[in-house]
């Protein structure tokens, strides 16, 4: 099977709201595929349609070679789903949650306890196996949710914003796990609004905005789309707000602030550097640092979507209820 996921003109309306607008793409077997976009772009709705949680309004899709509408139950046997918000039973222990997940997926009785023990040990939760999940931290719940998705050893994983809201250590652990799963041959479909995460993990990235896929390629090629624009990062002392004044300079197409530095997107570095020095001299500013940067995926995202990367940094509101998508 060349493609683990095939999507053709998938569309979803919630009432009159068009959440996903005729998206088409393929995910190759053994690939880590990123679905990158701001909150409300249609990421989660697409994932919910592909995993059988929501019915598409129109279009078609196949997962593991099975049609998601006509052969939904069979397709689900090959899927491991990690939702953004834990859907574990808070009233049950970590052990019982995993056993129940194994039972739902038809894991043979002899294997259930063995796999549950191994999973809990792998995720560092074995000592807490008898505790109710309701008492777990967000990071522990996310780890257990992943353990539950692994229990039937699926070939295709769907992870919805897997590191959102987690501490650095838990995020790193989950990213490493995604890499390990992929190295083991699993296909990963990942939604994220963290550009860096998509850049680090994904072999190909689809950028989705307002329900439409606006770009789809590997991260390096996406970055290359902004290579005609060079970036100069400059820091002045005293640091003041010069964004609008710098935008007026010749050859400068866009200016954004990153911490105490200003990023100027320019057509020709050699032309702009003297202009910046001249600008600083006229304003009696000291140039603390000036560097040229290679475009990042963040820059590509900003150019392709026309959105500020800061929009992506905004954490989304937690969504618990079954039904509409959130991203």
């Amino acid at each position: 099977m060349d493609n683990a996921i095939e999507v053709s003109n998938l569309t979803k309306y919630y009432g009159k709201l068009l959440a996903v607008d005729h998206v088409s793409f393929e995910v190759k077997s053994g690939e880590v595929f990123g679905f990158l976009g701001p909150n409300g772009a249609g990421k989660t709705t697409t994932l919910r349609m592909l995993t059988g949680l929501t019915k598409p309004t129109s279009g078609a899709a196949a997962v593991a070679g099975f049609d998601i509408l006509r052969e939904s139950t069979t397709a689900k046997e090959h899927i491991g789903l990690v939702p953004e918000v834990s859907n574990l039973y808070d009233e049950m222990s970590a052990w019982d949650n995993l056993i129940f997940a194994a039972q739902l997926y038809g894991v043979p009785k002899k294997e259930r306890e063995k796999r549950t023990k191994e999973s809990l040990e792998l995720f560092g939760l074995y000592e807490r196996r008898r505790d109710h999940v309701g008492n777990f931290s967000k990071g522990m719940k996310r780890r257990l949710t992943i353990a539950a998705a692994l229990i039937h050893k699926p070939a295709i994983f769907f992870l919805d914003e897997p590191t959102t809201g987690l501490d650095v250590q838990s995020s790193r652990m989950i990213r490493n796990l995604i890499k390990e799963l992929n190295e083991g041959g699993a296909t990963i479909f990942l939604t994220t609004h963290y550009i860096e995460e998509a850049d680090q993990l994904c072999q190909r990235v689809a950028i989705i905005n307002q329900g439409k896929i606006v770009a789809l390629d590997n991260p390096e090629k996406l970055k290359a789309t902004v290579e005609e624009h060079r970036i100069i990062e400059v820091s002045f002392s005293p640091a003041q707000e010069f964004t609008s004044q710098l935008k007026e300079l010749r050859f400068v197409s866009h200016v954004s602030r990153v911490g105490d530095k200003l990023r100027l997107y320019v057509e020709d570095v050699s032309e702009v550097v003297p202009i910046i020095i001249d600008f600083a001299r006229k304003k009696r500013l000291k140039v603390v640092s000036i560097n040229t940067l290679k475009p990042s995926l963040e820059d590509a995202f900003a150019k392709i979507t026309g959105l500020s990367p800061e929009v992506m940094a905004t954490e989304k509101e937690p969504v618990k209820k079954e039904g509409g998508g959130s991203g």
Binding site: T51, G52, L53, T54, K55, T73, T74, K76, E77, I79, L81, P83, V85, S86, N87, L88, Y89, D90, E91, M92, D96, F100, A101, Q103, L104, Y105, G106, A148, K320, K321, E322, G323
Partner: protein, 245 residues
């Protein structure tokens, strides 16, 4: 043909529901005390004989045990997002609903049997056909659990689900021969009574209790409860399909 795998999955869902939602002390006390409270509120100062009302009390225990908690369990699961875990698994919607109905059924049977074991010896009444009485408990509990699943299927949260479920159950108690014999009701109410599963449950258990079995009537009661169960489960699946997607 029903697949063995589906039956096993339904039983796993039922066991999980029994553990998470049903077999909790507040639910047990609710199921045991509410029928007694309704009975006492109605019968104080009235010439009623406890032995003749035992079938109604046991049927109420099944109704409140199996049905009341069931009508909360499904919306609660949807509100908390755990229902997605079931939907994402390779399990059909019919299997999910049957599994949930089985969870309520187990609880209803246990509660009603416990009720019978307490009330019958205390009242000094004679249970003529215990096995037929137990059979009545089994069919009634499943029908009431299926009813609970059906009336809660359109709702995604408990506050939405509670009012219609409570209204229906309380109305059933007054219209199904639990407190007032159906035969003494006006014709219109009698007609309504025969549209309610509790009527058949009470009648069945009364026949088994008193020993005055009329075979055709007992079979009719059994068939009615089975048909009600099938109807409620089918309706629950269809309603869920519409509200999920």
């Amino acid at each position: 043909m029903v697949k063995t795998k589906s039956i096993i999955q339904a039983v796993h869902i039922a066991k999980k529901d029994a553990k998470v939602y049903f077999f909790k002390w507040p639910n047990v006390t609710f199921g045991l005390f509410l029928p007694a409270i309704i009975y006492l509120a109605f019968s104080v100062g009235r010439p009623t004989e406890i032995s003749s009302t035992i079938p109604g009390l046991v049927a109420m225990a099944a109704l409140f045990g199996a049905g009341a908690i069931q009508s909360i369990a499904l919306p609660l699961e949807r509100a908390k997002g755990t229902f997605d875990r079931l939907l994402a698994a390779p399990v059909s919607l019919t299997t999910i609903i049957v599994g949930k109905a089985l969870g309520g059924f187990f609880f209803g049977v246990v509660l009603s049997l416990a009720y019978s074991l307490i009330v019958i010896p205390l009242s000094g009444a004679t249970l003529t056909y215990p096995l037929l009485f137990a059979f009545g408990i089994i069919l009634s509990s499943f029908a009431f659990s299926a009813l609970g699943a059906c009336i809660s299927a359109p709702f995604r949260d408990i506050p939405e689900a509670m009012p219609p479920a409570t209204l229906l159950r309380v109305s059933m108690v007054f219209l199904s021969g639990v407190l007032i014999p159906v035969a003494t009701m006006p014709n219109v109410l009698q007609l309504i009574a025969y549209l309610l599963p509790l009527t058949y449950a009470v009648d069945m258990m009364q026949q088994a209790m008193t020993g005055q079995i009329v075979s055709q009537l007992f079979l009719l009661d059994s068939a009615a409860l089975i048909l009600f169960s099938v109807f409620f489960l089918t309706a629950a699946v269809l309603i869920l399909k519409r509200t999920i997607h």
